[in-house]
């Protein structure tokens, strides 16, 4: 559905993107993770033809965004962090003006979407009086008109309260279930990406440093946060069980490892054990590992 090939971009002579490539399949929810300034928004900007690429190409359903942006963007709906509407106009008028740029404004479809995002009662109020959550719902409504096939979400849950985040997540997951919507989700909220996305890539300093299925990241191997002294004894004993050191005092072991045996061995070796906490390798761990491993 979406193909990004070898994107490069420089801002003021500095590399913002250094050959980013990834593909998003139809019906897939794909996460783009990275620190602020990593290049996520630049990538999204290029996909939306708002930012020119130094080199590389983006195609949406086989149509090149660089060669035929109007045709390619017909299939796209987009939401940005802090969506900027015309505050002095009502939500309905904002929809009319923005959706009208894509084609004729279908009142019936618009009413349905407005109802779906739960804005029916306030749609004729001025957007200036909307809360951040309501703005985000309006942004969602405008992005779904007229019927896109792919949604590009640029940090859409930033600033939302937990209830709002959950509503947004459920809504997007519902869109995929009902319409088979393809979603590119750009965020630095790791838990959101973990809960929503099928696949994820991590961008660091303009480079794609990791790409894989979210399920692959869930490491089922037993993991422990271990603290003991002396450190040399800890390392020696744990390595003897096939343990592998991860960032943040975290160790992972082969699947058949019996953790009580590890602790007993540590005590018998004379180590003073101060912490033994079972941990699971989260997306955050993967993110941090890749952030540390790949220096720019």
């Amino acid at each position: 559905m979406l193909s990004v090939k070898n994107l490069t971009k420089k801002f003021a002579g500095k590399d913002a993107l250094k050959g980013i490539s990834f593909e998003v399949a139809r019906g897939e929810i794909y996460g783009l993770l990275g620190h602020n300034g990593a290049g996520k928004s630049t990538t999204l900007g290029i996909i939306l033809s708002m930012v020119s690429a130094g080199s590389g190409e983006v195609t949406i359903d086989g149509i090149s965004v660089q060669k035929n942006p109007r045709k390619a963007l017909r299939k796209v709906g987009a939401i940005f962090e802090s969506p900027a509407f015309y505050d002095y106009m009502s939500g309905w008028d904002n929809l009319k003006v923005l959706v009208g740029l894509s084609g004729p404004f279908d009142k019936k479809a618009a009413k349905e979407i407005v109802e779906k995002v739960g804005l029916t009662e306030r749609i004729h109020s001025k957007v200036g009086a909307y809360s951040h959550g309501m703005r985000q719902r309006l942004a969602l409504a405008q992005s779904l008109l007229p019927e896109p096939e792919i949604l590009l979400l640029d940090e859409p849950t930033d600033g939302l309260d937990p209830e709002g985040i959950k509503w947004f997540r459920d809504f997007v997951l519902g869109l995929r279930k009902e319409r088979g919507m393809t979603v590119l989700f750009n965020s630095h909220l790791l838990s959101e990406v973990e809960q929503m996305c099928d696949r994820v890539s991590i961008i660091r300093a303009g480079e794609l440093v990791y790409e894989g299925a979210v399920n692959d990241l869930r490491d089922d191997r037993p993991g422990l946060r271990l603290r003991a002294s002396p450190e040399g004894t800890l390392t020696e004993v744990v390595r003897g069980f096939g343990g592998e050191k991860m960032p943040g005092d975290r160790w992972v072991f082969p699947e058949d490892t019996r953790i009580p045996a590890v602790v007993r061995a540590l005590v018998e070796a004379g180590a003073e054990v101060s912490e033994v906490t079972p941990v699971r390798r989260s997306l955050e761990d993967v993110y941090l590992e890749h952030s540390r491993l790949s220096k720019p």
């Binding site: 801002f11 928004s41 630049t42 900007g45 939306l48 033809s49 708002m50 930012v51 020119s52 942006p69 109007r70 045709k71 390619a72 963007l73 017909r74 796209v76 709906g77 987009a78 940005f80 962090e81 802090s82 969506p83 900027a84 509407f85 015309y86 002095y88 106009m89 008028d93 009319k96 003006v97 923005l98 009208g100 740029l101 894509s102 084609g103 004729p104 404004f105 405008q142 590009l152």
Partner: protein
Amino acid sequence: MMFFSQLKGELKKLFARKRTYIGYVVFLIFEALLLTLWVKVGRAQFEALAERNFIPVELLSSSLTATYWIMGFSMFLLGSIYFALVAGDIVAKETEDGNMRMVLSRPVSRLRILVLKYCAVLIYTVTFVIFVGVTGYGMALLAMGSEGGLFIWNPEMYILAVYPDRNEAFQRLFMGACFMGLSMCVVTSLGFFFSCLKIKPAAASVMALSVFFIDFVLQNIPFLANHKDAFITFRMANWIYVLQENIPWERIIESYSILMGLNISLFIMGWMVFQSRDFKT
């Protein structure tokens, strides 16, 4: 058809703002002030002038003449500032506020976005000048009654014209308002061009006004008197020739062709800059 519905949306954005109406109110107050000055001070001087030139005062010291006076001064003094402000905002403000990203995420070309904005702001300019003419005339009617024709005297443009017939006077004045509206489109185009650059909306307005006033000051330097034709503000002032008894159409067509060429050039330059810009947070 789609273009017109999109243009309607653009005009809606322009007219949904409160400050647009504040502008209208400010102009109404300014017109009332000018009319008061005309009735209290200007009228007596004008009547003396008319008497010296053997022109029947009772016929020409009229609401139409007052309208001409109000229209000319309010547009020159306040209109240029106002149009530069509105046009300076039209692209730059949306870019600054982040609305432009929402617009650009739609399957619409940047050229079309600019054409829509430019058309909207031009329509706004011309209709605003006509609004000033119509309301100025309405106020003058209330203050001075409906009697009398139109007396035009502008020594700088070498014009002295008298229209005792009220219908002809009205038609000429309306035509004048339309041409003045076209002239003011140059200020709007300047504001629009600067608005397309990567600068703040206020900076775009200030730049447009700077160009306008520098041109006006240069035009009025005595040793450049023989080169007035080279200045934008002089060409803009050519609207007044439609009030001359024998309208010099050749001169008017020449001036408005130059102004139109300038407007198109400003639009194209603005578009080229806008097209090459990256829009990020």
